[in-house]
Protein backbone atom coordinates (compact mmCIF):
# COMPACT_ATOMS: atom_id res chain seq x y z
CA UNK A 1 0.00 0.00 0.00
CA UNK A 2 1.22 3.46 -0.89
CA UNK A 3 1.39 6.34 1.54
CA UNK A 4 -1.82 8.31 1.48
CA UNK A 5 -1.90 11.55 3.43
CA UNK A 6 -5.63 11.75 3.14
CA UNK A 7 -5.99 8.48 4.98
CA UNK A 8 -3.97 9.91 7.85
CA UNK A 9 -6.48 12.71 8.21
CA UNK A 10 -9.50 10.44 8.09
CA UNK A 11 -7.86 7.89 10.37
CA UNK A 12 -7.24 10.59 12.96
CA UNK A 13 -10.82 11.65 12.56
CA UNK A 14 -11.85 8.06 13.22
CA UNK A 15 -13.74 8.05 9.96
CA UNK A 16 -12.19 5.05 8.23
CA UNK A 17 -14.44 2.03 7.89
CA UNK A 18 -13.21 -1.29 9.32
CA UNK A 19 -11.38 -2.75 6.30
CA UNK A 20 -9.76 0.53 5.41
CA UNK A 21 -8.68 1.11 8.99
CA UNK A 22 -7.07 -2.28 9.43
CA UNK A 23 -5.26 -1.90 6.13
CA UNK A 24 -4.00 1.54 7.06
CA UNK A 25 -2.93 0.56 10.53
CA UNK A 26 -0.93 -2.34 9.11
CA UNK A 27 0.77 0.08 6.74
CA UNK A 28 1.38 2.66 9.45
CA UNK A 29 3.21 0.15 11.61
CA UNK A 30 5.88 -0.20 8.93
CA UNK A 31 5.97 3.26 7.31
CA UNK A 32 8.05 5.92 9.06
CA UNK A 33 6.91 8.68 6.69
CA UNK A 34 3.30 8.12 7.69
CA UNK A 35 4.27 7.88 11.35
CA UNK A 36 5.92 11.28 11.04
CA UNK A 37 2.82 12.61 9.32
CA UNK A 38 0.62 11.32 12.12
CA UNK A 39 2.91 12.83 14.73
CA UNK A 40 2.76 16.29 13.18
CA UNK A 41 -0.95 16.12 12.68
CA UNK A 42 -1.49 15.04 16.29
CA UNK A 43 0.62 17.92 17.49
CA UNK A 44 -1.50 20.40 15.59
CA UNK A 45 -4.69 18.68 16.69
CA UNK A 46 -3.69 18.80 20.34
CA UNK A 47 -2.83 22.43 20.04
CA UNK A 48 -6.15 23.08 18.38
CA UNK A 49 -8.01 21.39 21.18
CA UNK A 50 -6.29 23.67 23.64
CA UNK A 51 -7.41 26.86 22.00
CA UNK A 52 -9.48 28.36 24.69
CA UNK A 53 -12.86 29.77 24.05
CA UNK A 54 -13.79 32.49 26.52
CA UNK A 55 -16.75 31.53 28.67
CA UNK A 56 -19.96 32.97 27.32
CA UNK A 57 -21.57 35.59 29.52
CA UNK A 58 -23.63 34.25 32.37
CA UNK A 59 -26.63 36.28 31.32
CA UNK A 60 -27.00 34.52 27.96
CA UNK A 61 -29.84 32.39 29.22
CA UNK A 62 -31.51 35.38 30.82
CA UNK A 63 -31.27 37.30 27.60
CA UNK A 64 -32.73 34.36 25.72
CA UNK A 65 -35.62 34.12 28.17
CA UNK A 66 -36.35 37.81 27.70
CA UNK A 67 -36.33 37.40 23.95
CA UNK A 68 -38.61 34.38 24.17
CA UNK A 69 -41.14 36.18 26.37
CA UNK A 70 -41.22 39.18 24.06
CA UNK A 71 -41.69 36.90 21.10
CA UNK A 72 -44.50 34.97 22.79
CA UNK A 73 -46.35 38.18 23.52
CA UNK A 74 -46.11 39.34 19.94
CA UNK A 75 -47.41 35.96 18.76
CA UNK A 76 -50.34 36.11 21.21
CA UNK A 77 -51.23 39.55 19.91
CA UNK A 78 -51.19 38.34 16.35
CA UNK A 79 -53.21 35.29 17.29
CA UNK A 80 -55.84 37.40 19.02
CA UNK A 81 -56.18 39.70 16.07
CA UNK A 82 -56.66 36.72 13.79
CA UNK A 83 -59.16 35.01 16.09
CA UNK A 84 -61.20 38.20 16.40
CA UNK A 85 -61.35 38.48 12.66
CA UNK A 86 -62.48 34.85 12.28
CA UNK A 87 -65.14 35.11 15.00
CA UNK A 88 -66.51 38.26 13.43
CA UNK A 89 -66.82 36.46 10.13
CA UNK A 90 -68.60 33.64 11.91
CA UNK A 91 -71.04 36.08 13.50
CA UNK A 92 -71.88 37.45 10.09
CA UNK A 93 -72.63 33.93 8.96
CA UNK A 94 -74.92 33.15 11.88
CA UNK A 95 -77.39 35.80 10.75
CA UNK A 96 -78.16 33.80 7.63
CA UNK A 97 -79.54 30.35 8.41
CA UNK A 98 -78.84 27.82 5.73
CA UNK A 99 -82.45 27.28 4.73
CA UNK A 100 -82.98 30.91 3.94
CA UNK A 101 -79.76 31.09 2.03
CA UNK A 102 -80.71 28.04 -0.03
CA UNK A 103 -84.12 29.55 -0.69
CA UNK A 104 -82.66 32.79 -1.93
CA UNK A 105 -80.16 31.01 -4.16
CA UNK A 106 -83.01 29.02 -5.74
CA UNK A 107 -84.92 32.26 -6.29
CA UNK A 108 -81.98 33.91 -7.98
CA UNK A 109 -81.46 30.95 -10.30
CA UNK A 110 -85.16 30.83 -11.09
CA UNK A 111 -85.17 34.52 -11.91
CA UNK A 112 -82.24 34.20 -14.23
CA UNK A 113 -83.76 31.22 -16.04
CA UNK A 114 -87.17 32.78 -16.51
CA UNK A 115 -85.66 36.03 -17.62
CA UNK A 116 -83.50 34.21 -20.08
CA UNK A 117 -86.44 32.26 -21.54
CA UNK A 118 -88.68 35.32 -21.89
CA UNK A 119 -86.30 37.85 -23.24
CA UNK A 120 -83.94 35.64 -25.13
CA UNK A 121 -85.37 36.52 -28.54
CA UNK A 122 -86.03 40.17 -28.15
CA UNK A 123 -82.47 41.37 -27.93
CA UNK A 124 -81.62 39.68 -31.21
CA UNK A 125 -84.61 41.21 -33.01
CA UNK A 126 -83.86 44.48 -31.47
CA UNK A 127 -80.30 44.45 -32.66
CA UNK A 128 -81.40 43.50 -36.16
CA UNK A 129 -83.76 46.42 -36.25
CA UNK A 130 -81.11 48.70 -34.98
CA UNK A 131 -78.66 47.53 -37.60
CA UNK A 132 -81.24 48.01 -40.32
CA UNK A 133 -82.03 51.49 -39.08
CA UNK A 134 -78.38 52.30 -38.90
CA UNK A 135 -77.61 51.07 -42.41
CA UNK A 136 -80.53 52.98 -43.87
CA UNK A 137 -79.21 56.06 -42.15
CA UNK A 138 -75.78 55.47 -43.62
CA UNK A 139 -77.40 55.09 -47.01
CA UNK A 140 -79.28 58.36 -46.60
CA UNK A 141 -76.06 60.03 -45.67
CA UNK A 142 -74.33 58.63 -48.73
CA UNK A 143 -77.07 59.94 -50.98
CA UNK A 144 -76.86 63.40 -49.47
CA UNK A 145 -73.11 63.34 -49.78
CA UNK A 146 -73.29 62.18 -53.39
CA UNK A 147 -75.64 65.00 -54.26
CA UNK A 148 -73.51 67.64 -52.65
CA UNK A 149 -70.26 66.25 -54.01
CA UNK A 150 -71.60 66.25 -57.56
CA UNK A 151 -71.81 70.02 -57.28
CA UNK A 152 -68.20 70.25 -56.21
CA UNK A 153 -65.97 72.33 -58.52
CA UNK A 154 -63.16 69.77 -58.29
CA UNK A 155 -63.42 67.05 -60.95
CA UNK A 156 -61.84 64.42 -58.67
CA UNK A 157 -64.47 65.08 -56.00
CA UNK A 158 -67.21 64.64 -58.56
CA UNK A 159 -65.59 61.39 -59.65
CA UNK A 160 -65.74 60.28 -56.03
CA UNK A 161 -69.41 61.21 -55.87
CA UNK A 162 -70.17 59.03 -58.87
CA UNK A 163 -68.30 56.12 -57.34
CA UNK A 164 -70.40 56.51 -54.19
CA UNK A 165 -73.54 55.77 -56.15
CA UNK A 166 -72.25 52.24 -56.76
CA UNK A 167 -72.49 51.58 -53.03
CA UNK A 168 -76.04 52.82 -52.73
CA UNK A 169 -78.47 49.92 -52.97
CA UNK A 170 -81.79 51.74 -53.24
CA UNK A 171 -81.03 54.62 -55.49
CA UNK A 172 -83.69 57.33 -55.66
CA UNK A 173 -84.87 59.53 -58.47
CA UNK A 174 -83.07 62.52 -57.13
CA UNK A 175 -79.70 60.81 -57.55
CA UNK A 176 -80.63 59.57 -61.03
CA UNK A 177 -81.51 63.12 -62.01
CA UNK A 178 -78.27 64.41 -60.67
CA UNK A 179 -76.30 61.74 -62.54
CA UNK A 180 -78.10 62.47 -65.80
CA UNK A 181 -77.45 66.15 -65.36
CA UNK A 182 -73.78 65.40 -64.81
CA UNK A 183 -73.70 63.21 -67.90
CA UNK A 184 -75.02 66.02 -70.05
CA UNK A 185 -73.48 69.07 -68.46
CA UNK A 186 -70.26 68.16 -66.70
CA UNK A 187 -67.29 69.97 -68.29
CA UNK A 188 -64.90 67.07 -67.56
CA UNK A 189 -64.84 64.18 -70.03
CA UNK A 190 -63.66 61.66 -67.41
CA UNK A 191 -66.49 62.52 -65.08
CA UNK A 192 -68.96 62.10 -67.87
CA UNK A 193 -67.51 58.73 -68.86
CA UNK A 194 -67.66 57.42 -65.29
CA UNK A 195 -71.16 58.73 -64.91
CA UNK A 196 -72.16 56.89 -68.02
CA UNK A 197 -70.71 53.68 -66.59
CA UNK A 198 -72.67 54.23 -63.40
CA UNK A 199 -75.90 54.83 -65.27
CA UNK A 200 -75.68 51.59 -67.24
CA UNK A 201 -76.69 49.75 -64.07
CA UNK A 202 -80.02 51.57 -64.14
CA UNK A 203 -80.64 51.18 -67.88
CA UNK A 204 -83.49 48.83 -67.10
CA UNK A 205 -85.43 51.88 -65.96
CA UNK A 206 -87.25 53.24 -69.10
CA UNK A 207 -86.59 56.80 -68.07
CA UNK A 208 -82.83 56.26 -67.83
CA UNK A 209 -82.87 54.60 -71.26
CA UNK A 210 -84.66 57.50 -72.83
CA UNK A 211 -82.37 60.03 -71.28
CA UNK A 212 -79.32 58.08 -72.49
CA UNK A 213 -80.64 58.14 -76.04
CA UNK A 214 -81.37 61.83 -75.80
CA UNK A 215 -77.91 62.43 -74.47
CA UNK A 216 -76.30 61.24 -77.71
CA UNK A 217 -77.03 64.55 -79.36
CA UNK A 218 -75.55 66.49 -76.44
CA UNK A 219 -72.15 64.82 -76.41
CA UNK A 220 -69.37 66.56 -78.24
CA UNK A 221 -66.52 64.42 -77.02
CA UNK A 222 -65.73 61.50 -79.37
CA UNK A 223 -64.84 59.36 -76.33
CA UNK A 224 -68.30 59.70 -74.83
CA UNK A 225 -69.89 59.25 -78.23
CA UNK A 226 -67.98 56.01 -78.69
CA UNK A 227 -68.96 54.80 -75.23
CA UNK A 228 -72.60 55.60 -75.91
CA UNK A 229 -72.43 53.71 -79.18
CA UNK A 230 -71.11 50.65 -77.33
CA UNK A 231 -73.88 50.90 -74.78
CA UNK A 232 -76.59 51.21 -77.38
CA UNK A 233 -75.36 48.10 -79.12
CA UNK A 234 -75.29 46.24 -75.83
CA UNK A 235 -78.83 47.39 -75.04
CA UNK A 236 -79.96 46.76 -78.66
CA UNK A 237 -81.70 50.14 -78.51
CA UNK A 238 -83.05 50.75 -82.01
CA UNK A 239 -84.50 54.10 -81.06
CA UNK A 240 -80.97 55.52 -80.87
CA UNK A 241 -80.42 55.08 -84.63
CA UNK A 242 -82.22 58.35 -85.32
CA UNK A 243 -80.04 60.20 -82.84
CA UNK A 244 -76.84 58.76 -84.29
CA UNK A 245 -77.85 59.75 -87.80
CA UNK A 246 -78.48 63.23 -86.54
CA UNK A 247 -75.08 63.23 -84.88
CA UNK A 248 -73.38 62.12 -88.10
CA UNK A 249 -75.00 64.97 -89.97
CA UNK A 250 -73.85 67.58 -87.50
CA UNK A 251 -70.36 66.29 -86.86
CA UNK A 252 -67.39 67.19 -89.04
CA UNK A 253 -65.53 64.83 -91.39
CA UNK A 254 -62.54 64.78 -89.05
CA UNK A 255 -64.38 62.97 -86.20
CA UNK A 256 -62.33 59.86 -85.39
CA UNK A 257 -65.36 57.88 -84.25
CA UNK A 258 -67.30 58.54 -87.39
CA UNK A 259 -66.70 55.02 -88.81
CA UNK A 260 -67.68 53.49 -85.48
CA UNK A 261 -70.96 55.38 -85.39
CA UNK A 262 -71.73 54.31 -88.94
CA UNK A 263 -71.07 50.72 -87.99
CA UNK A 264 -73.30 51.08 -84.97
CA UNK A 265 -76.13 52.42 -87.12
CA UNK A 266 -75.90 49.50 -89.55
CA UNK A 267 -75.76 46.98 -86.68
CA UNK A 268 -78.81 48.44 -84.99
CA UNK A 269 -80.76 48.73 -88.23
CA UNK A 270 -80.48 45.02 -88.96
Amino acid sequence: MKCDKERVTHWLNNQLIDDERQEFEAHLAKCTACQQEVKEAREVLNMLKQIQVPEPSADMEVRFQGMLDAYKQSVVKNDNAWKNFISRLQQLWSFQPKQQLGYSIVLVILGITVGHLFFNKSPKDNSKEQIAALSSKVEDMRQVMTLSLLENPSASERLRAVSYTEEITNINAQIIDALLRTLNEDPNVNVRLVTLEALIKYSDQPRVREELIRSIANQESPLVQSALADIMIRLQEKRSVEEFRHLLKNTGADNPVKPKIEKTITQLSL
Binding site: K5, N13, A41, P56, M60, M67, Y71
Partner: protein, 186 residues
Protein backbone atom coordinates in the same frame (compact mmCIF):
# COMPACT_ATOMS: atom_id res chain seq x y z
CA UNK B 1 -40.04 8.72 31.48
CA UNK B 2 -36.94 9.41 29.41
CA UNK B 3 -35.82 12.88 28.36
CA UNK B 4 -37.49 14.16 25.20
CA UNK B 5 -35.20 14.30 22.19
CA UNK B 6 -34.24 17.56 20.46
CA UNK B 7 -36.45 16.59 17.60
CA UNK B 8 -39.48 16.05 19.80
CA UNK B 9 -38.91 19.34 21.57
CA UNK B 10 -38.60 21.28 18.36
CA UNK B 11 -41.76 19.69 16.98
CA UNK B 12 -43.52 20.81 20.18
CA UNK B 13 -42.28 24.34 19.54
CA UNK B 14 -43.52 24.09 15.98
CA UNK B 15 -46.93 23.03 17.28
CA UNK B 16 -47.09 26.18 19.40
CA UNK B 17 -45.47 25.27 22.71
CA UNK B 18 -42.84 27.99 22.51
CA UNK B 19 -41.59 27.45 26.08
CA UNK B 20 -39.92 24.22 25.02
CA UNK B 21 -37.38 26.38 23.22
CA UNK B 22 -35.79 27.17 26.59
CA UNK B 23 -34.75 23.57 27.01
CA UNK B 24 -33.25 23.47 23.53
CA UNK B 25 -31.40 26.66 24.26
CA UNK B 26 -29.78 25.32 27.40
CA UNK B 27 -28.81 22.13 25.62
CA UNK B 28 -27.25 23.70 22.57
CA UNK B 29 -26.35 27.33 23.01
CA UNK B 30 -22.84 26.52 24.20
CA UNK B 31 -21.90 24.41 21.22
CA UNK B 32 -23.33 26.99 18.87
CA UNK B 33 -21.44 29.70 20.73
CA UNK B 34 -18.20 27.72 20.40
CA UNK B 35 -18.70 27.29 16.69
CA UNK B 36 -19.37 30.97 16.22
CA UNK B 37 -16.47 31.95 18.43
CA UNK B 38 -14.03 29.80 16.48
CA UNK B 39 -15.29 31.37 13.31
CA UNK B 40 -15.14 34.98 14.46
CA UNK B 41 -12.85 35.05 17.51
CA UNK B 42 -15.24 37.62 18.85
CA UNK B 43 -17.02 36.85 22.11
CA UNK B 44 -19.66 39.56 22.03
CA UNK B 45 -20.54 39.04 18.38
CA UNK B 46 -20.80 35.29 18.94
CA UNK B 47 -23.19 35.73 21.84
CA UNK B 48 -25.36 38.08 19.80
CA UNK B 49 -25.42 35.67 16.93
CA UNK B 50 -26.50 32.83 19.23
CA UNK B 51 -29.53 34.88 20.28
CA UNK B 52 -30.17 35.64 16.66
CA UNK B 53 -30.10 31.98 15.65
CA UNK B 54 -32.59 31.06 18.36
CA UNK B 55 -34.79 33.95 17.40
CA UNK B 56 -34.83 32.71 13.81
CA UNK B 57 -35.71 29.22 15.02
CA UNK B 58 -38.79 30.64 16.73
CA UNK B 59 -39.74 32.76 13.78
CA UNK B 60 -39.25 30.06 11.16
CA UNK B 61 -40.36 27.13 13.35
CA UNK B 62 -42.87 26.17 10.67
CA UNK B 63 -40.06 25.33 8.26
CA UNK B 64 -38.65 22.71 10.62
CA UNK B 65 -39.38 19.32 9.09
CA UNK B 66 -37.93 17.05 11.76
CA UNK B 67 -36.26 14.94 9.10
CA UNK B 68 -32.64 15.80 9.92
CA UNK B 69 -31.14 16.41 13.31
CA UNK B 70 -32.00 19.50 15.25
CA UNK B 71 -28.30 20.42 15.66
CA UNK B 72 -27.81 20.27 11.92
CA UNK B 73 -30.60 22.76 11.42
CA UNK B 74 -29.15 24.97 14.13
CA UNK B 75 -25.70 25.07 12.56
CA UNK B 76 -27.27 25.68 9.22
CA UNK B 77 -29.02 28.79 10.53
CA UNK B 78 -25.82 29.75 12.38
CA UNK B 79 -23.89 29.65 9.14
CA UNK B 80 -26.38 31.89 7.40
CA UNK B 81 -26.18 34.47 10.15
CA UNK B 82 -22.42 34.22 10.10
CA UNK B 83 -22.37 34.90 6.38
CA UNK B 84 -24.45 38.03 6.91
CA UNK B 85 -22.06 39.08 9.66
CA UNK B 86 -18.98 38.57 7.49
CA UNK B 87 -20.56 40.62 4.76
CA UNK B 88 -21.19 43.41 7.23
CA UNK B 89 -17.61 43.24 8.49
CA UNK B 90 -16.24 43.39 4.99
CA UNK B 91 -18.23 46.55 4.45
CA UNK B 92 -17.14 48.24 7.68
CA UNK B 93 -13.71 46.62 7.66
CA UNK B 94 -13.40 46.10 11.39
CA UNK B 95 -12.25 42.90 12.89
CA UNK B 96 -12.07 42.92 16.66
CA UNK B 97 -11.18 39.28 17.14
CA UNK B 98 -7.43 39.68 16.85
CA UNK B 99 -7.23 42.54 19.30
CA UNK B 100 -9.02 40.50 21.87
CA UNK B 101 -6.44 37.73 21.53
CA UNK B 102 -3.41 39.95 21.95
CA UNK B 103 -5.02 41.51 24.98
CA UNK B 104 -5.45 38.12 26.51
CA UNK B 105 -1.85 37.18 25.78
CA UNK B 106 -0.34 40.37 27.19
CA UNK B 107 -2.71 40.53 30.13
CA UNK B 108 -1.21 39.15 33.32
CA UNK B 109 2.21 37.77 34.04
CA UNK B 110 2.55 34.21 32.87
CA UNK B 111 5.07 31.62 33.87
CA UNK B 112 7.65 30.89 31.16
CA UNK B 113 6.37 27.45 30.50
CA UNK B 114 2.84 28.66 30.37
CA UNK B 115 3.88 31.51 28.12
CA UNK B 116 5.51 29.18 25.59
CA UNK B 117 2.39 27.13 25.40
CA UNK B 118 0.28 30.20 25.05
CA UNK B 119 2.42 31.47 22.24
CA UNK B 120 2.16 28.23 20.35
CA UNK B 121 -1.57 28.33 20.76
CA UNK B 122 -1.65 31.89 19.62
CA UNK B 123 0.24 30.90 16.48
CA UNK B 124 -2.28 28.22 15.72
CA UNK B 125 -5.00 30.72 16.39
CA UNK B 126 -3.50 33.03 13.80
CA UNK B 127 -3.03 30.15 11.41
CA UNK B 128 -6.76 29.46 11.73
CA UNK B 129 -7.44 33.05 10.83
CA UNK B 130 -5.30 32.75 7.72
CA UNK B 131 -7.55 30.02 6.37
CA UNK B 132 -10.39 31.12 4.18
CA UNK B 133 -13.92 31.04 5.59
CA UNK B 134 -14.83 27.71 4.04
CA UNK B 135 -11.72 25.94 5.26
CA UNK B 136 -12.07 27.36 8.73
CA UNK B 137 -15.73 26.44 8.89
CA UNK B 138 -15.25 22.83 7.92
CA UNK B 139 -12.38 22.41 10.37
CA UNK B 140 -14.36 23.96 13.21
CA UNK B 141 -17.28 21.64 12.54
CA UNK B 142 -14.90 18.69 12.33
CA UNK B 143 -12.42 19.36 15.14
CA UNK B 144 -14.33 21.44 17.65
CA UNK B 145 -17.89 20.32 17.20
CA UNK B 146 -16.67 16.78 16.53
CA UNK B 147 -19.40 16.17 14.03
CA UNK B 148 -19.41 13.13 11.77
CA UNK B 149 -18.72 13.61 8.06
CA UNK B 150 -22.30 12.92 7.07
CA UNK B 151 -23.57 15.47 9.59
CA UNK B 152 -21.20 18.09 8.20
CA UNK B 153 -22.38 17.23 4.73
CA UNK B 154 -25.95 17.98 5.80
CA UNK B 155 -25.03 21.31 7.31
CA UNK B 156 -23.05 22.37 4.25
CA UNK B 157 -25.64 21.03 1.78
CA UNK B 158 -23.19 18.74 0.08
CA UNK B 159 -22.22 15.06 -0.02
CA UNK B 160 -19.92 13.06 2.19
CA UNK B 161 -17.27 12.60 -0.51
CA UNK B 162 -16.87 16.33 -0.94
CA UNK B 163 -16.66 16.80 2.83
CA UNK B 164 -13.88 14.22 3.06
CA UNK B 165 -11.81 15.96 0.42
CA UNK B 166 -12.38 19.40 1.86
CA UNK B 167 -11.55 18.41 5.43
CA UNK B 168 -8.28 16.89 4.35
CA UNK B 169 -7.39 19.92 2.28
CA UNK B 170 -8.29 22.37 5.04
CA UNK B 171 -6.38 20.46 7.71
CA UNK B 172 -3.31 20.21 5.49
CA UNK B 173 -3.50 23.92 4.79
CA UNK B 174 -3.68 24.69 8.50
CA UNK B 175 -0.78 22.43 9.25
CA UNK B 176 1.46 23.92 6.60
CA UNK B 177 0.64 27.48 7.65
CA UNK B 178 1.36 26.57 11.26
CA UNK B 179 4.64 24.80 10.50
CA UNK B 180 5.76 27.70 8.34
CA UNK B 181 5.18 30.14 11.19
CA UNK B 182 7.07 27.83 13.52
CA UNK B 183 10.10 27.69 11.24
CA UNK B 184 10.18 31.48 10.82
CA UNK B 185 10.49 31.93 14.52
CA UNK B 186 13.27 29.41 14.93
Amino acid sequence: MSEPTDNELMLCVKAGNLDKMSLLFSRHHRSLYNFLYHMTHDKQASEDMVQNVFYRMLKYRNTYTGKGQFATWMFHLGRNILKDEFKKQKRTGNYEGLEEVSEKISGGILADEQLGKKQAQHKLYRAMEKLNEEEREILVLNKFQELKYHEIAQILNTNEGAVKVRIHRAFNQLKSIYLKMESYEV
